[in-house]
Symmetry: C2
Subunit: 166 residues, 2 copies
């Protein structure tokens, strides 16, 4: 349970940093379920209309989350690399996903409330505020995961429920 | 330009109500572009893997935005109706979309900051806070629009840029 002082802080926020973290991690749990739902081979090979397979989309999401938050925390710019090699099995991708879940929790707690409206440039080129950048990370994940839902349906596989974030 | 007192309010927020409105309307502008990009016939008939055509998805989005915000503002529960008839042309859907854009702006300004953490039940069944409900509206739109992007790619049509919200 929250203590009274925390409740008072939350009451004056549209969404608190902790709530935004839970929101993000809830979406990441759903994306993890989508990765799990793909048959091993289809995760690496199935696509529609010349788009990327879901393994390549997952690489993009991994290239954004921890590297992006690391830049926000450190203020140092790095390169955006969506072609890193995480292995050739779903299990290896899921292991990296879970390590990043912990890393995101650690990084998040190093971003004080006062920084969310600060103007930043990520990966040397993407301008915004801390809040608009983080919302972009989340929106981009939802957008591409929606793509993954269609891939699964085209394979006659039922995707996880969109509202399930546990 | 914002005045100083508004800036001070914003500085203590992760995201202010006005910023969240602009975020939502930016996403709605992108969804509008997706509707515009569909060929007339495909908007009503094209789909993949037994999913709904984008016109039906649009009906769901219209059933959520203004009706949901109306419930948040009024506190009164109504029915969720994603099968309303908006006509049989893209132009009719776009006209409704634009009317709702104005309506959303009006409703939003009737939700004071203090209400975002309030617990509510929408459409008689969906429990959450005002903020989690509004984020769900936005996330659901991003999710289904991602589906629409795949429909367009499968038709060999380039979707609008995801980052374009103007």
């Amino acid at each position: 349970m929250e203590n009274t002082s925390k409740k008072q802080t939350t009451a004056t926020q549209v969404i608190s940093p902790e709530q935004l973290l839970q929101h993000y991690q809830g979406h990441r749990k759903l994306t993890r379920k989508v990765i799990e739902t793909f048959p091993e081979n289809d995760f690496f090979n199935h696509s529609i209309g010349g788009m990327r397979p879901f393994s390549e989309i997952t690489k993009e999401l991994l290239a954004i989350a921890v590297p992006g938050l690391t830049e926000i925390v450190s203020g140092a710019n790095g390169d955006f690399d969506e072609n890193k090699d995480y292995g050739h099995t779903k299990a290896q991708f899921l292991e990296k996903w879970d390590r990043d879940t912990e890393e995101i929790n650690k990084l998040w707690r190093q971003i004080p409330l006062e920084r969310y409206q600060e103007h930043i440039t990520l990966f040397g080129q993407y301008e915004g505020t801390v809040q608009s950048s983080i919302l972009y990370f989340i929106d981009n994940e939802i957008h591409h995961r929606g793509q993954g839902f269609v891939y699964l349906r085209a394979l006659d596989i039922e995707p996880p429920f969109f509202y399930n974030r546990d």
